[in-house]
Symmetry: C2
Subunit: 354 residues, 2 copies
């Protein structure tokens, strides 16, 4: 591949291999000014259809790819949306991120993804890194923010959306639901079915996480019904998976042998608990009822299917995407939107495991 940039002084081959051409190269080849090329590419300003077509033909011919780093510096619009999730390896967050990306792509926005590993300090570090890219919106998944995190967001003056929970003390907009209330509803349903010795398997060091809210929701339900609410086992820091559920359920039965139902902080954990029961010959739901949270594919497919809380996860991505586009449109007109709180549905679903 010969160097074709002879027109100007020879360019050094820097670490970024430049898409061979710059906008001025295209302009020269098309016999117009760079500004006209810019307008033709963005299809916004006034350009005659013939000029536009001509320019685009040259662009295609050369294989010119515009440089958004330069464009962003000049236009002051990075085209980035920063999205922080606790973990990518969680179908819910993966779907949320994927859904968001799909909504934003047509609008020319790109998602910058980061995962915090459920650690506020990691969130802080990651956010700082991302703010250097001047995102136009920041999306956070409720995770207990540090003081510095809040300060950075404040200083940056960037719109913030918190999702997957309705935080007590929100930073900006919210698209989510109350994990505590949803969990309480699930607990209420189990109690209504007649279970009386209900245990909860959850995560340790879960300050600020959804898991902590869910634990409290179950406790709320048990207390309200006057039942024993001490049967809480905190296994390990989030996220806990199937194998944690398996070991935890054994521990629960060792500590509180008369337990008749176990509610887990999430579906994978519940699945692990259930298979361990089956392995040991404890029938589900005969000897022990099981419930999870989240309505993952595995809960629907397991045998028996697992009682859980179904969250309208697709709606979170969709509504968040729409809100981002609105925020951006408002900003373009120099306005700011008032704080929005969008409630997402999360309902218990009774299945064979309870």
């Amino acid at each position: 591949m010969a160097e074709r940039n002879g027109s100007k002084k020879a360019r050094t081959a820097g670490p970024i291999r430049h898409g061979r051409y710059r906008m001025t190269d295209v302009a020269e080849a098309a016999g117009v000014s760079a500004m006209t090329v810019s307008r033709a590419l963005k299809n916004d300003g006034p350009v005659s259809p013939e000029t536009r077509d001509h320019v685009l033909r040259i662009v295609a011919q050369l294989g010119y790819v515009p440089d958004l780093i330069a464009g962003g510096l000049s236009s002051k619009r990075s085209g980035f949306v920063a999205v922080l999730v606790p973990s990518l390896n969680n179908p819910h967050f993966a779907d949320t991120v994927g859904g968001l990306a799909e909504v934003l792509q047509p609008a020319g926005l790109q998602v910058l993804i980061g995962h915090t590993d459920y650690c506020p300090d990691q969130e802080e570090r990651l956010l700082e890194t991302m703010l250097r890219r001047r995102p136009e919106v920041v999306v956070l998944t409720f995770d207990g923010h540090t003081t510095k995190t809040r300060r950075m967001l404040d200083v940056a003056g960037v719109p913030v959306i918190e999702i997957w929970e309705t935080p007590r003390n929100p930073i900006g907009h919210v698209v989510g639901f109350s994990n505590r209330k949803a969990s309480r509803a699930l607990g209420g349903q189990m109690i209504a079915k007649g279970y009386k010795k209900i245990a909860f398997i959850g995560e340790s060091q879960d300050k600020g996480t959804r898991g902590s809210e869910r634990r409290q929701g179950i406790r709320d339900a048990l207390k309200a019904a006057g039942l024993d609410w001490e049967r809480v086992l905190s296994v390990a820091p989030p996220p806990i998976g199937m194998s944690h559920g398996a070991t935890a359920v054994v521990e629960v039965m060792r500590r509180w042998p008369d337990t008749d139902a176990v509610i887990c902080v999430s579906d994978p954990c519940a699945f692990g608990a259930m298979t361990e029961c089956q392995r040991r010959g404890w029938t589900v739901p005969g000897r022990l009822a099981i419930a999870g949270f989240g309505d993952f594919e595995i809960s629907r497919c397991a045998l028996p299917a697992i009682t859980t809380v179904a969250v309208d996860a697709a709606a979170i991505a969709r509504k968040t995407g729409e809100l981002i586009l609105e925020l951006r449109a408002a900003d373009q007109r120099g306005k700011t939107l008032p704080r929005q709180t969008i409630e997402i549905s999360a309902m218990p679903v009774e299945r064979g495991s309870s």
Copy 2:
């Protein structure tokens, strides 16, 4: 929050809310030049320790966040690594992306993630979008690239790493394994155990995907053993999940009632098939043996545990990360690395389901 940028002419509040300060603001406050601030922040050039500390103190005090858009334009290093995966909602790819991000973060590199939905055209579109950000390395998950995709990569002159497969016609570096060979080994093992009527449940329209390689691997094994290799069911376009496995296994038994083993393109699919068998009272592995691919958590936890192919997924992320850092270091010294092909282990694991 009052506007504090009075020093120069009043700045318009553009769509990107500027972190209040620019490097010159910091320089002014510290009584040094912008260049010194830049050097202090990057900790590379010659700066006296006292100056450095002083500058960093001012930076912290003001809450200054450097602008990488401007920095990237000037230095010609975007700090981006573009990573394309078929789907985020797949524990393997999620872990790969997560692992990569962790390796690259300390080096100041940021991952730009995109998902292709197993569609070459989407890959092409996504790649074009990403190339506008001038990534320093592009990571692709083998997926059957379009001609234009290959051309764009060629023109961009950016190093490419293909992962999770060893493509026949690689674009650049490779970190992966042969899905076909691994699958063939699994098939061989099933045959050795005595299964004779083996069916395969896979994906339709799977050109260029790992699924297609796996199907061929099973066929290779069956042909080599002189067994019937026609029992192949292509259910739906990738990715197929648990529910597809469930419906497919029923269809397999309807078409070929004497089938004694079913190998699925992936573990979730195998799990779905297995639970459906159990639901119908077909014992696993008594009536029907089941195997999957990938060694997902679910295969280890299911009852019985599912025979599968264990891929050293963590190694893919680690080796790819290391290769990226090497490529970058080489580039910094103006060199290019010769094409690397790094082989990852992928071995059949026999479990209770077969």
